[in-house]
Symmetry: C2
Subunit: 391 residues, 2 copies
Amino acid sequence: MSDKFARRMGTVHRSFIREILKVTADPEIISFAGGLPNPELFPVSAMDKASREVFAEIGSSALQYSTTEGDAGLRAIIAKRYEKRGLAVDPDSILVTTGSQQILDICAKVFLDRGDKVVIERPGYLGAIQAFSFFEPEFVTVSLEDDGPNLEELEAAFKDGAKCFYAVPNFQNPSGVSYSLEKRRQVAELLDRYGVLFVEDDPYGELRFMGDDLPSVYSFCKGESLLCGSFSKIAAPGFRLGWVVAGKVVYDKLVIAKQASDLHTSTVSQAIMRRYLETNDIEAHVSLIRERYGRQREAMVEMIGRYFPEGVTITAPEGGMFLWATLPENVSAMDLFDIAIKDKVAFVPGSPFYVDGSGENTLRLNFSNSDEARIEEGIKRLGKSIATMLK
Amino acid sequence: MSDKFARRMGTVHRSFIREILKVTADPEIISFAGGLPNPELFPVSAMDKASREVFAEIGSSALQYSTTEGDAGLRAIIAKRYEKRGLAVDPDSILVTTGSQQILDICAKVFLDRGDKVVIERPGYLGAIQAFSFFEPEFVTVSLEDDGPNLEELEAAFKDGAKCFYAVPNFQNPSGVSYSLEKRRQVAELLDRYGVLFVEDDPYGELRFMGDDLPSVYSFCKGESLLCGSFSKIAAPGFRLGWVVAGKVVYDKLVIAKQASDLHTSTVSQAIMRRYLETNDIEAHVSLIRERYGRQREAMVEMIGRYFPEGVTITAPEGGMFLWATLPENVSAMDLFDIAIKDKVAFVPGSPFYVDGSGENTLRLNFSNSDEARIEEGIKRLGKSIATMLK
């Protein structure tokens, strides 16, 4: 059979994270491995109410085929929310997608020929690496510093004929790093100077616990750029609802790619989400999430200070869902994983986030899906596992 | 900007049908153009009830991320329904997809290298042509006769190194043609003899109005084959829920491709559909659809007999949603479309279903989305338009 597969299947793999999630299904394991929002914060009864109203008022059209572009009312709400945050976006430039993962797939379809150079952050978002890999680009990685990408590396990559730069400037997955205002401007300037297409992925931007909101890199770009958003982290991921903002020419191509991929996004999901947004205060809900995740993040940083041995450094993100830890050199996070599982605690080793297989001594910790008590116990266990490794 | 697009974007286009649907939005136009199920038959109140139960009982898990493979309970129900119809299918061989359109995309991702020969029916399903086109295969078409594909052409295509055969053996879109039992066996034998991968798309199989159900081609295949299904025509398309049945090795590859495409299908959609299926008699519901569409199909055939001029031939399908008409040679269905729109009736010209641009004198008529009164009036109008053309 294997001789039948397309060549690209030799270079793509199951998500390592999703494989890890199977190992961590044991309820005794405290898992910091996933990237799940805290389900206690899902607006279940408000969604129930929204859903009843949808079935009562527009039942049969909510069950019918709909347009590839997405529900017009939902797109108008997305545009209005951008406007509130100071960004003018035409609703007709918004394409609703089946989660923001689908944006990565359709962008790759529209832009990537085999061998095209795609610049990503190092470490980089695994979902993007997976989606792009199907189109066999050459990945060029640029190291992520505390305030954003290393600009010399970025310029060198752009000079070397990069077609596209994919980045998560707010509370990046996996590192938790955010770009400084200054670096946002500089990145945009480099993009414009070298005519590189920019894909800004922003699922976490609204989850800021401290510091000031910063404008998107997209807002500084004069050239072609795309801005991706998602309802997964501010409402609920189960609907699979994301969106992308694009200029007219690119938009039309994205629509063709989306149409070929799944015709359109679930009419039911879109109708319920639209009604929920029309009849609830999403800003108040997002505040609630921010407040809770902020406390969980505080707890994790504090417990790491208390329980981790010397020599482990961490990022201290101002928002999002993840924290990034670096072990002493030559200490393998993969080996640590095996020990930690025995100690009933899990995380994601960092190397899958490096396309070159480096980053062996790094790991990602999720703080959004555990309350403070579990965070304390889990970090205590992990501290013990690390101490065992360092012995 | 255009220099940035991938090469493949030169060969893919917006769906002509979806463009036509915009023209036909005028409520005065009687449209036989779309491929929409009749929304009067959507089980709105049963879905409302299912949705309430989902939010009440498993609210937060229905809103959370879920597995790429799909809801285990839903897959078990799909397997059980196959079993009732005499086909043994392991639930673990079923992958839930975002509509059956997504199967075509992930199959193409997994199997198609540029230039691979893909055999399709002539005329062929447009959604498949679109999805496959993104992976730049060479399409080889085999003419569809009243009882299935021309076997000489099929064997010649297989001999010539075809990698894959994509077919809709039940009530094909666009033609309405079904394969005879004998041809199903012969097609399976040819597939096995030449080791060609088979993708059987079966969204309409349960919508049989007359004659006996026939086993799938898939059930006769000894080699690698995939069977695709959908809830769009038997329940509602708005959920975007389809599935594919595949052998273990292929299944694992499809999961990787699905994961990269949209992580997983809407948890909410799957939970509501599962609950609906657990608490309602879907077989009774499908009977209702069959009965109604059967009457509409009868009306269309009868009205064509009454109102179409001599020299137009039609297929008389035993199920599904479409009828296929052939005008006298050298009469253009595209030109007819312009006249018909002025007469306030619409259909889909046949040539987009031919990758070689032939089929100019053919057209597709949908009978599922209009009641008998509209069918009579619409066919009358269309008869007049055709008469104008033939003058």
